[in-house]
Amino acid sequence: MKTPFRRPEYWSRGDLAPEHQPAIGPVQPERHVRGSHPSTPAWLVIGFGLYAALLSWFQIQAGASDYHGVIWTGMFHNLLTLDSLGRQAMVSSLHIMPLQGLPALPFLPLVGLRHAAIAYAHGLAILLALATLSLANLLARMQQAPRPATAIRYQPPRTTFTLIIALSLLLILSLQFAGHGITGPLAALACLIMAMDFELRPTPLHRAMAGLFWGCAALSHWTGLIAASGWMIVRMVQMGRALSRGHRWAIAFIQLVSALYLAGIHLFLSALIMRDPLYAVRSFRIPPRHGAPVESLEHAFRTATPNAAPVVSGHWGYLVQPFITEHGGHHVIDFHPDKMPAWDTRDLVLVEPAPGNPLVPFSDSLQRLRERQTNLRGCLLITETGGWRFYAISRHP
């Protein structure tokens, strides 16, 4: 059968000089339909709207009970006013990690610094909306058994059903996390879901991109860091055992390099800002399972620091900012008495959550402060309440 070529005159006629041509509109590029759901943007918008509404409601209603929201509000303020505390806070904890807050930046100009917690909620909502699509992909893959006797990887398209299930699951999880006042891990969860989705995609380019999401998960929360580290170890073992440097090896290499690079950026920034690349790791503590409630802090401040400048060290300083401001005190991320303003000659009283207080992981440990700062030797425990400890700090050793 002959191929249906047109007559040769077609070419010689060609499309002649511009002056003989009618006006040519833009040529429609070839369309290559991939297997995506036709209403992907609509689902993104729906997901974003629902998550944003839910998380914002918690930020408004529950107020200061969401530690992450309050801390990020303070950090955004410091970051945008170019206060060095904000930069320190970005890299000095494994509980408060950069990728929780970075997606909120586009929303900050819209809502203003006073409502930065709302921007933070919207940033998380973006991540969750993207993760919804990935979770729907994973569910679609589970729903459809792999095709037998074929070497070709296949990505079944996500359906409305899988999208609804994914959305519902993530909404329930968001509700749970926000209800407990800990929204930070949601960012890591979203990144992990996206990493898993890309890891299982049929195209090599997508699989190679999974490393970026693993890296993002590691920069979102300590739970993501542990998950990503475990995955990296498995990948390295697989690469070490591979006999030849084939396609799969190359994909694993790109994944590893991407994830390690993101982790490397965190270490680099930490070295630059904190003078210690592993500052966050060294000061890491897991929150107590059943901590004392955050209460009576105002009372504690009033009774324990009548004539002194209260200072706090660590991210929890953002949580108690109103009390500190009221008492004319200071909060610092990386505590050092020299950072206090020279005009304030009052004695310093360092307020630290006692063991068992859920804010412990957000504060610097005094032990560590003592190790790092030699001029903290004048530190003296003066009083202790149920959830708090108060130390007198000598500024002139």
Partner: protein, 467 residues
């Protein structure tokens, strides 16, 4: 500098606008005025001016990195395959003219001729014009030894002061007939079914598609580190950028060789600009302005990568010189660009030409500043980078560079040259070479604007497609 005449034998009028003048009087006046204003501002407000320039450069970096990323994402989605038709009646195939400009290519000629004889296209519908300079006795002798028969023909390019490839191509264009035309270089090894694929693609494409660009890649990839880097760069450009440009209906800078044209529109456009040392890029823009389109052809032409740093830098300097030439030429009619291409596609033009050479020229300055900042942190650097600028600057440094490296690794994966993936990590060293080439090209644009830096080829006759 007075431009040399093209050739007494060429009567073809120059395409408009062209690179006969590097800068028009208007452009020169604007440049001088801008320089004077900058000097005045530097005298009055030195710090503010330097910070403003710094901000502009960082914004440019960020936009360019973002543009490249978007282009690559679009390219991945726009991937397609072209197939040559299985059986066809040879009598209805279009007549094809193949132009091969040769200059000091005596060693490459036998391999080229042998390869072109293997092309899967009816020889009676093919004309292969070997364009040899009149004073290039070595190449002529080598061709004589081969005892060429039709479809091969040797066309003599008259000697003139101007020795550029587009000049030779224009002479070939005068001699060409038939329906379609393609250009190959001496060291090119196109895939044997490329002409068939191109004919088929032209037949099935809209009439406004008058040019097809094949992908270019290298058959001597594993020669040394430089050829590996070069391969990665080409894989990124031809496989992960140009398809995206076509998909976005943006102007495509042609790739120098393996450009397939419908003959009549090319002749009507006036062929190539003989004064432009990247005549291919210029032609791509001119085609677009006239309402024509360039599409990508899913076929690869295998070339020889320059494997010594000296010739590589010379080749790169010619390319960057040509990019600047093309940019300046089309800036003269910026209003026309905006009218015919629209603001978005004009932005493509600025990114593809202006931002490309600008970033390459500015890169060394910023690398040096980064190095100083990390080692000694001089006070004047802190003045240049106030705290509010540090975040975008760091983002540009850490994310922008990483994005380019990652896209290089993905390009290797896409081309299935997996062994090159780790080499892509060293691409920043390759960028240093690129910047050296860019500076050489920029300086040469002032001193020898029409000089064609000839790239020497080893061009082994024994060639096989890389695995």
């Amino acid at each position: 500098m007075t431009p040399p005449p093209v050739s007494p034998a060429v009567s073809r009028p120059l395409p408009q606008p062209n690179a006969h003048e590097v800068m028009t009087r208007g452009q020169r006046n604007i440049a001088i005025f801008g320089l004077l204003v900058a000097l005045l501002l530097l005298w009055q407000f030195p710090r503010q001016l330097l910070v403003a320039v710094n901000v502009a450069v960082i914004v440019c970096y960020l936009l360019f990195a973002g543009y490249k990323l978007i282009l690559q994402m679009v390219s991945v989605r726009a991937r397609h395959t072209d197939q040559a038709p299985g059986t066809m009646d040879r009598n209805i195939l279009p007549r094809y003219t193949v132009l091969v400009p040769l200059y000091h290519e005596a060693s490459a000629a036998p391999g080229l001729v042998a390869h072109l004889k293997t092309m899967e296209y009816p020889m009676d519908r093919l004309r292969i014009l070997l364009l040899v300079e009149a004073d290039d006795d070595d190449t002529r002798t080598a061709l004589d030894r081969l005892v060429l028969e039709p479809p091969f023909e040797v066309i003599t390019v008259p000697v003139s002061m101007l020795r550029t490839k587009p000049k030779a191509c224009n002479i070939g264009l005068d001699a060409a007939d038939g329906d379609l035309l393609v250009i190959y270089d001496a060291e090119d090894r196109p895939e044997p079914d490329q002409l068939l694929k191109a004919a088929w693609k032209f037949q099935t494409s809209p009439g406004s598609v008058v040019c097809l660009q094949s992908a270019l890649n290298f058959y001597n990839t594993d020669r040394n580190l430089l050829t590996r880097w070069f391969t990665i760069e080409y894989s990124g450009w031809f496989d992960q950028c140009l398809p995206g440009l076509f998909h976005l209906d943006a102007p495509i800078p042609l790739g120098g060789t393996s450009n397939h044209f419908r003959l009549a529109p090319l002749q009507a456009l006036g062929g190539w600009d003989p004064y432009n040392v990247t005549e291919d890029c210029d032609l791509g823009i001119r085609l677009y302005i006239c309402g024509y389109r360039t599409a990508m052809l899913d076929s690869t032409t295998w070339e020889e990568a320059t494997f010594r740093p000296g010739p590589w830098i010379r080749q790169r300097s010619r390319w960057i010189k040509g990019y600047i030439q093309t940019y300046l030429v089309h800036l003269r009619q910026h209003g026309r660009l905006l009218r015919t291409m629209g603001p978005v596609r004009t932005l493509h033009f600025h990114f593809l030409f202006g931002a490309t050479f600008f970033c390459l020229l500015v890169n060394p300055v910023y690398w040096l500043m980064t190095l100083l900042w990390l080692t000694t942190t001089p006070a004047w650097l802190n003045l240049l980078f106030p705290a509010w600028l540090m975040v975008p600057a760091l983002l540009s440094f850490l994310a922008g560079n990483a994005a380019f490296v990652l896209s290089s690794m993905l390009a290797c994966l896409n081309r299935q040259t997996d062994r090159l993936v780790p080499v892509a990590l060293l691409m920043p060293l390759y960028w240093i070479l690129m910047s050296i080439g860019a500076w050489k090209g920029a300086i040469q644009l002032v001193t020898r604007p029409f000089y064609w830096e000839k790239t020497p080829h080893e061009a082994k006759s024994a060639w096989r497609k890389p695995s």
